[in-house]
Amino acid sequence: MSAVEQAQAEPGPEAALARPADRPDRSPAARRRRRVRALTYAVAVLLSLFVLVPIYFITVTAFTPREVSYDFPKPFIPGTVSAETVRFFADSTGVTAALWRSVVVAALTLVLSTLLGAPAGYALARFAFRGKSTYRLLILSTRAFPIVILSIPLAVTFITWGIYDTTYSVALMHTGLALPFTILITSSIFVSVPRDLEEAARTLGCTPLGAFVKVVLPLALPGLAAAAIFTFVLSWNEVFAAVILTLRQRTLPALVLAALNTSPLPFRFAAAWFMLAPSLVVIFVIRRYLLGLWGRVAR
């Protein structure tokens, strides 16, 4: 919050350039530009508040004593900070197990979708072959389908396969959900690794696999890691498929959703914070890659 205000207080470098302190530009165009700039800052602050204030509220609720959840009016600056609400949630029946299952499902999804998707992404990035544009179009067209909804027929299939209500059946579904994304992302990451380097390694006697492992992989690794982390969050957050595909082996969101209307307020608020917190950290970690990740998918 303070960082935002600080950023707002300092004048931009461009503003300083356009308007030296000793000789302010009084032309109407410059004045108009300054007005637009001031307006932009105001809009930026308003939009930031819209994003940040709800996060502040839920954090305050999660870290004040349980009774405060029922207090009215609520204090905007918490009187006492306490982990009681969070601990109450964590100690509730099934929460630890569900938390662990969520981690397992997300990790399985990450590994599976990377193993299946990255080779395809590499093929799209590096090879010219018949059917390439068809394959690309096929992957792009998955966007037109609400994939999550497919968990209903999948549930019926999983029952006949005998793997219904297991953590890995949820991971299988989540992999299907994440795979098109992984393929497009990894392909754009591999495209950004210069082909010349790989070919130089081959000329110097590397096998295609050797060139990939020694040259391409180290350069692509940060991007691949960012994509993998995002896949993790995708699975961590997913609730519809998780609640359809499980009965007892609930992931955290599925557990919270199934109990939502019967659970006390502190439980819900702490649950929301638990689901939210990791994603905030993740977005922070991969912030440099966000544009690359989603921007490239958009093309």
Binding site: V4, P73, L116, V148, P153, A155, A200, T203, R268, L291
Partner: protein, 294 residues
């Protein structure tokens, strides 16, 4: 240079099978976990009690008293959410692209909800809109209200829908924003500077330079967002409980509470059809020059 090219051509010829081998696992996987369930969804939706084809699940879906409301609520949500989000996301994207002090920080803040789940967002906004929640705390303390106002009033569906719209706008605007920012960065800065030189106002610049050049990104963002909006589910449950209902919620209810996977599949098929139709509409209404696949 010539030798490298020759070498690469040679390897390409030698490794002609390689791309297919690399693609095969993902294709097989998508066939089993994407194409097959899609076919199965329609199969289930037209399956009778003793197997075989039947319109019974569809009849049950259409005959359900909650069906019409679920359909209209979902469509209403899509129609309200998508334009609002587009405007907010465009505002965010233009702010990021304006290169204010701390561009990365603004981008990070606006992108924060990207990682927030539907369910968490629903509960966060429930804590704000609930009778003894944050919004009422604010309004009574400032003196605008004497006593708490019931925002989540089960008697007033319009108000419920508006709270869902706010929660969804908060949660899912970032994805639209990211796509638009990525698109904006692809616009050569010369174009914008040229507009400046000719004395274009900020609005003229957006209207006549940015929007036309941004069309491909806008189209993708709208398609993605609309399909997500058709699947809206956990936000609705967290905010409105069973007071209002949407298509995905009905699919869940029929599967989980009424134990009828076929009617649930009928709902899934309906969402599928709506999504595909909306995608086609966007493709037709916003044609771009880059439509030919590369």
């Amino acid at each position: 240079m010539a030798t490298t090219t020759a070498a690469s051509v040679a390897t390409r010829r030698r490794l002609g099978w390689a791309p297919y081998a690399l693609l095969a696992p993902s294709l097989v996987y998508l066939a089993v976990f994407f194409a097959l369930p899609m076919v199965n969804a329609f199969g289930l939706a037209f399956q009778g009690d003793e197997g075989g084809y039947s319109l019974e699940p569809i009849r049950r879906m259409l005959g359900d008293e909650r069906f019409a409301k679920a359909l209209t609520t979902t469509l209403l949500l899509v129609v309200i959410i998508v334009p609002i989000q587009f405007v907010v996301a465009m505002g965010m994207a233009l702010v990021v692209n304006a290169r204010l002090k701390g561009t990365d920080l603004w981008l990070y803040v606006f992108a924060l909800p990207l990682g927030v789940s539907e369910l968490a967002a629903g509960i966060v906004w429930f804590s704000i809109f609930t009778e003894q929640g944050w919004l009422n705390s604010l309004l009574t303390q400032v003196g605008i209200l004497d006593r708490p106002f019931i925002f989540l009033d089960y008697q007033r569906p319009t108000l419920l829908i508006l709270t869902i719209v706010v929660a969804e706008a908060w949660r899912a605007t970032s994805i639209v924003m990211i796509i638009l920012v990525a698109g904006l960065q692809g616009i050569p800065r010369d174009y914008l500077e040229a507009a400046d030189v000719f004395g274009a106002t900020a609005w003229q610049r957006v209207r006549h330079v940015i929007l036309p050049l941004l069309k491909p990104s806008i189209r993708v963002a709208l398609i993605l967002r609309t399909i997500l909006a058709f699947q809206v589910f956990a936000t609705v449950i967290a905010l409105a409980g069973s007071a209002t209902n949407v298509l995905a919620g009905e699919a869940y209810r029929w599967y989980q509470n009424l134990r009828d996977a076929r009617v649930a599949a009928a709902y899934a098929s309906l969402i599928l059809i709506l999504s595909v139709v909306s995608t086609i509409l966007f493709l037709l209404l916003l044609p771009t020059e880059e439509d030919r696949p590369t």
